[in-house]
């Protein structure tokens, strides 16, 4: 448990500091955030052709309403927590890589739901938008991380049944 906590905190702090570095922001985080905006637009477009993506901004061409996907809204922090948990927990490298890739996918899938929901909530009611943006969605994303990690532990257990070590 102590080893897990130490590794978890170390990886969490390390990845968080790396994410904040300017070259990493410019080369990885900002293009990735732009990709999220483009993906969100691609999902919305078949249902609503007034939406356009401009870099990290999702805009409604009719109303002019726009949301900008900023740090903390791109799901990277949540993914870092998950990666830190997976890396800190003893398992084979192969299992860790699978868990990180699958976990990242699930966190980002929910994050795209968050972005799309906020885009429409903002056009409907600003107070509701603020509530979901500032308080509810961060909690739901963290719950998603927790669920993914719990599923990962169960999956690992099924890969290595108790009393049958290789």
């Amino acid at each position: 448990m102590g080893r897990f906590l130490l590794l978890f905190c170390g990886v969490l702090g390390g990845l968080f500091a790396i994410e904040m570095l300017k070259p990493v922001q410019e080369a990885v985080i900002q293009p990735f955030t732009g990709l999220l905006a483009a993906l969100s637009t691609a999902i919305i477009l078949p249902f609503d052709d007034t939406v356009i993506a401009q870099g990290r901004i999702l805009r409604d061409a009719t109303t002019g309403f726009a949301v900008s996907i900023e740090a903390g809204c791109n799901g990277v922090e949540a993914a870092i927590v998950l990666i830190a948990g997976v890396v800190a927990f003893p398992a084979s490298v192969k299992h860790k890589i699978i868990a990180i890739l699958a976990g990242f996918f699930f966190v980002q899938a929910l994050n795209i739901v968050r972005i799309i929901s906020l885009f429409y909530l903002g056009q409907w009611n600003h107070d509701v938008f603020e509530w979901f943006h500032l308080y509810l969605w961060p909690v739901l994303i963290m719950l998603d991380v927790l669920v993914v990690f719990a599923v990962y532990l169960q999956w690992l257990g099924k890969q290595h049944p108790e009393g049958n070590p290789a």
Partner: protein
């Protein structure tokens, strides 16, 4: 099965705990604001004069003033710049923690909640101080950075991101996990962990 029930119950309880948290206004944030006031006015008396609650906002009276658009010491400017910080940006961690804890149906839940609340207030105080640091950096800039004991701008940004974007959701999970020990859910989770790490 227990874990699934935990997540479903957490989602069901969240509207209730968030409703109570919002209706309570400044109640849940007050101790963290008092602690922030004590910490900041003790550690940085040359930057922060006092902090207090005004509704759900933390009002901070700084030692900076403004004259003709220039930020300077309040004594030179003849006025004090005040900042207001939305405490709910941090205090929603209490509503999340309450939902997690209630969903686990632990023994001595109220006692555990009080212990957790105490820790959350400490963490929230650092969160509020981090927001204050970021706001002062944006508002005052160089005069703030040149003050004694102020960390570099990059470190302020990093601390802000960590304490405001991550801790309000991560801290409740860590506290809840720590308080789970001895519960049926903990036993189920421990069995999963034992199986998972059997070959590691």
């Amino acid at each position: 099965m227990l874990m699934r029930r935990q997540f479903v119950l957490t989602l069901i309880l969240m509207p209730i705990t968030f409703g109570i948290w919002y209706a309570a206004g400044s109640l849940f944030a007050a101790p963290a604001v008092w602690l922030t006031d004590f910490l900041m006015s003790s550690a940085y008396p040359n930057i922060v004069e006092a902090a207090g609650l005004q509704g759900a906002e933390m009002m901070v009276r700084t030692q900076f003033g403004e004259d003709g658009g220039v930020i300077m010491a309040a004594t030179d400017a003849g006025n004090h710049i005040a900042l207001d910080i939305n405490t709910r940006l941090i205090s929603y961690s209490i509503a999340f923690y309450a939902a997690l804890l209630l969903a686990s149906n632990l023994k001595d839940a109220m006692y555990k909640f009080c212990i957790g609340l105490f820790w959350l207030w400490l963490i929230m105080a650092f969160g509020l101080a981090s927001i204050l640091g970021k706001d002062l950096l944006l508002m005052a800039g160089t005069p703030f950075l040149d003050s004694t004991g102020v960390p570099p701008a990059d470190l302020i940004a990093l601390i802000y991101q960590f304490n405001v974007l991550l801790m309000p959701t991560l801290a409740p999970v860590c506290l809840w996990f720590w308080q789970l020990r001895g519960s049926p859910l903990w036993e189920a989770l421990a069995a999963d962990i034992r199986r998972a790490s059997a070959r590691a």
